[in-house]
Amino acid sequence: MKETVNPFADAKPRLSRRGREARLRVNPEQAPAFMPGSRRVDSHSRGSSIFLTALLFLFLGFMLIGGNRRNPRMMAASAVYVVFLTVLAYLIFRTGFVSRYRSIFFSAYGLAFVLGFIPMLLEQRGHLALTGQDIANLDTPLCHLTIPMLIVPGLVYGVLIFPTKLFSDLGFFPMLFLWLGATLTIGKGWCSWGCFYGGLDEFFSKLLPKRRLSSRNFNYKLRWFPFALLAVIVLWAFLALEPVYCSWLCPFKAVTEFVKPVNLLIWIQTGLFIALFLGLVVVLPLLMKRRTQCGLFCPFGAFQSLAGLVNPYRVRVDKDKCTQCGACVAECPTFSITEETLAKHKVSISCARCGRCMEVCPRGAIQYALLGVPLRGGTETAARGRFWKEVVRPDSLFVFAALLFGGIISGGMVASSLLRILHFVQTGSLLLK
């Protein structure tokens, strides 16, 4: 019989085996106190899970289904997506396995983005590669990755150095306000719940059931590279008055749009985009089962780590429970937990609030927390049965806000991709027009 491979098998709580390599390195003597079958994650009671899920369903239904009432096909596709999100939300709250089910949503979002964006460009412009005329017409959609490069020249010269319009759908101000809203409401959680590019990284990191490249000897100092790259591109963009990351380094140009290769320089740039995409978004995540592009390269991720500090949610390690076993070190997709941070009972500033460490910790020692609020002592049992206390727990509030944000921002993209798939099955083309 043919064996089926579950791309999300990695999310299963095979804790002691998954964290073995890091645990041996950190504290070989200490055996985790995880008892198979016992509950370590912060699950919710049935009542509060249903309440939170129903509330989310209402919000999402109102925003996504109601928002498309003039377009019956989009309305139907949005309804399918809302049901999908509602099921995932229930599973997240009820089981407490945040990352396992978030990962399904986030990967679907990333894939829907690629499936929707390229046909959309073809419909709008008639061609994919950006021409000189498109640039001169400011016909380039802007994405959030450019924001750090636009700030300094914007302040000094009062001009956008990216060839986009100020107020078009994918123009500067809508993206700026979206980023501001994301930063306020979910902070660095953007990188696990809101960014379509991150969904691709996540998808490939979950695809193989087993890790092929060990991170036993991995140099965790490399997690500071995105911060260094951020400083370089901000300065370089200011001096060159050009969004240099977009011209030279963005791995996602390989799956979005790129400048028409009319000379050798543009061919080199295009080659770089493809090599970075294949290396950092496909091959390394497949082999390491980590989000290597997000954790080790993306300068916007570093920018968001800093900007996201305005958001009050944090991921914290309970020093009374943590035995320094290291299971979380080997599993954090963004390389945000190291021996050094663990010794201080902290996670690194680059933590993307994905929830994976909470699933693998055998002691339930890591939690979503609110700044200035003491950690909860007795994990789920302390609040169990106390409905409102479960509903307003920091993890409930964060996951609710993040799912709501991620659901709304991904809604149009996923719904239109669903319609495109249907169209493809019927006509053989992904283009709707």
């Binding site: 010269y157 150095i161 306000f177 008055l241 944000f405």
Partner: protein
């Protein structure tokens, strides 16, 4: 002294929970605001303009525009 400290700690915790609930409500509000034209209203008050680009993608900057 201890009572005052306890009071402030309790007040801080309540405030943080209040902020957290408000942030949840801010999510749909923000997306509503997008449809209401507020982005354009605020954006017009921010002194930034679109660039002028040559067909090769170079920004044509009028150096006289550099802010004092």
């Amino acid at each position: 002294m201890n009572t005052i400290r306890k009071f402030f700690v309790a007040a801080r915790i309540k405030l943080m929970y209040l902020i957290a609930v408000l942030l949840v409500l801010l999510v749909p509000l923000m997306f509503f605001a997008f449809g209401s034209g507020i982005v354009e209203k605020i954006g017009r008050k921010i002194p930034i303009r679109e660039g002028t680009f040559s067909a090769t993608g170079e920004l044509q900057l009028d150096r006289g525009d550099i802010r004092k």
